[in-house]
């Protein structure tokens, strides 16, 4: 029960309360770039959700088994070659950034090939933004968020794979929600008489800001939810 409660808290937190786009302001580039049409925005949301899930899965595995201080795999390798030094914990967490970037870039490449083969129309409408998921900070942010909860915390609070995956999936869902709302508003904006100096990027950023303010309304929901489950 407690685990399910925690998972729900993580899910709601990632999707609504601490929405990656509208609370942390990461992943703004595709959020602005691909939010012109609702169908394209939905495709982008799905792609980001998929990539962030794959990246989180891989990064949790690498973090847990390789990068964290005293990680089993690293410890085993050291024990194999230098049995004398096993007393000290092997800390490879300096590698975290490069490993995450590596993992993200590879999974984006993979998704690009997959989409190109099976969804050519989607591939065409993504254009340059599909490779841009590589540099989408929302995904690196998800990896680092997971790392924060794996490295340097006690064994009791340490996140397991399930929690990491829930965070990643719902971060993607939150991104999709945000970009869909944005695309809906921007489709309506096309028919509006926007003052000339604000047209284009100006009004888009203003709308994003107002959206972020609206999402501020979810703050405090987590405390209520926590009370519900404990």
């Amino acid at each position: 029960m407690e685990l399910i409660g925690q998972l729900i808290l993580i899910a709601v937190g990632a999707a609504m309360i601490n929405n990656f786009v509208l609370h942390y302001f990461v992943g703004i580039c595709p959020f602005i770039g691909v939010s012109r049409r609702v169908d394209m925005a939905f495709g982008m949301g799905c792609a980001v959700t998929f990539v962030v899930t794959v990246a989180a899965f891989l990064s949790w595995i690498f973090t847990f088994f390789l990068l964290q201080p005293g990680a089993p795999l690293a410890q085993w390798v050291v024990g194999l070659f230098l049995p004398a030094e096993t007393a000290a914990k092997v800390d490879l967490s300096v590698l975290s950034y490069i490993v995450y970037i590596f993992v993200i870039a590879s999974s984006v490449q993979f998704v690009e090939m997959y989409v190109r083969k099976f969804f050519p129309v989607l591939y065409k409408s993504f254009g340059v933004y599909l490779p841009l998921i590589t540099t989408n900070c929302a995904i690196l942010f998800a990896c680092l968020y997971i790392m924060k909860n794996v490295v340097g915390v006690g064994p009791a609070e340490q996140w397991d794979l399930a929690r990491s995956l829930v965070l990643a999936i719902f971060a993607g869902v939150g991104f999709t929600i945000a970009i869909l709302i944005m695309a809906g508003i921007r489709e309506e904006l096309d028919a509006c008489d926007v003052p000339e100096p604000l047209r284009g990027a100006g009004i888009t950023l203003i709308v994003a800001g107002i959206l972020a303010l609206a999402f501020l309304g979810f703050t405090g929901m987590d405390r209520g939810l926590a009370g519900l489950f404990n």
Binding site: L66, A74, V90, S106, F110, Y114, R116
Partner: protein
């Protein structure tokens, strides 16, 4: 210990790289999409200006259409003949002789030549001014508000004394100006020579009405048609048959027609020849051009 960490870090990155390379290599083979390699090559041969002069959205779209056989190979106006030749070679097509197309502004009236002008204070675009009657007497001629200059991506058309003038040195012939002109006075002419003869007027009214609105308008007298069969007069306006146009073969007819034209509406347009450049070589140009601000509130005439 530090050495252990460094070796371990290097080793794990190496392993990771090998692992990912294997996965991506497998995916590359499994999810491989057959793309006609000619599309890539055509894309490389195209200039990549994405100007839309060929009628397709961008160079990539055009490349796909060419390879699919839906479009002729000589549509790219920016690349010109050399580009068309490269495309034809890639596709194994026979090259037909094609000419670069360049815009010709069929109006020769500077602001001072236009009569019955009224002050216009509306939106400063030709498209807006064209809706209103009475901006100037001639309903066919250039409005001089510069929609064509706005449309040009290559800085090749300018408004000089209220008249759109093409800079043939810079022009690549994408046709954006011809498409945007609300009065349709810019036409794309196949330039068979560096300089082409053109009728510089669009007014289709009778002589009396033309005289009333323009100092230099074509009266439709038809003298040019009498001098050479290159010209056909319809709606009081001569047109040049560019399919048959050949400056060398018609040189005497053309010279006579140019000379006889009472309004002097037949001009050679195009890149300046060496002779033109030599004639203006000793004219001194100012080092810096002073900005010439004009306001809409002007006691004299509104110059656009």
């Amino acid at each position: 210990m530090a050495w252990t960490i460094i070796i371990l870090a290097a080793g794990s990155m190496l392993l990771l790289a090998v692992l990912m390379a294997c996965v991506l290599g497998w995916a590359n083979k499994t999810f491989c999409v057959e793309v006609d390699p000619r599309i890539e090559r055509v894309n490389e041969a195209l200039p990549g200006a994405n100007c839309g002069g060929c009628g397709y959205i961008g160079c990539n779209e055009y490349a796909e259409a060419v390879v699919a056989g839906n479009a002729p190979a000589d549509l790219c106006t920016v690349g010109g003949t050399s580009c068309a030749a490269a495309l034809a070679e890639i596709l194994g097509l026979e090259m037909e002789e094609s000419w670069p197309r360049r815009p010709v502004v069929h109006c020769g009236a500077r602001t001072a030549d236009r009569l019955q002008r009224n002050e216009y204070r509306g939106e400063p675009t030709c498209a807006a001014a064209n809706i209103i009657s009475g901006v100037q007497g001639c309903v066919y001629g250039c409005l001089g508000l510069g929609d064509c200059r706005q449309a040009c991506d290559f800085d090749a058309i300018h408004i000089i004394d209220g008249l759109a003038v093409v800079d043939y040195e810079k022009c690549v012939g994408c046709g954006a100006c011809a498409r945007v002109c609300p009065r349709n006075i810019i036409s794309m002419v196949p330039f068979k020579a560096e300089q082409m003869l053109a009728v510089i007027c669009s007014n289709k009214d009778f002589a009396k009405d033309v005289k009333a609105v323009c100092r230099v308008g074509c009266t439709g007298c038809g003298l040019c048609a009498k001098m050479s069969e290159l010209f056909t007069v319809s709606d009081n306006l001569p047109a040049i048959d560019y399919d048959r146009y050949d400056a060398a073969a018609f040189v005497q007819d053309i010279a006579k027609a140019v000379e006889k034209c009472p309004m002097k509406r037949l001009f050679y347009v195009g890149k300046p020849t060496d002779k033109d450049l030599a004639a203006t070589a000793d004219e001194e140009l100012p080092d810096a051009i002073q900005a010439d601000f004009r306001t809409t509130v002007d006691k004299t005439e509104w110059h656009g």
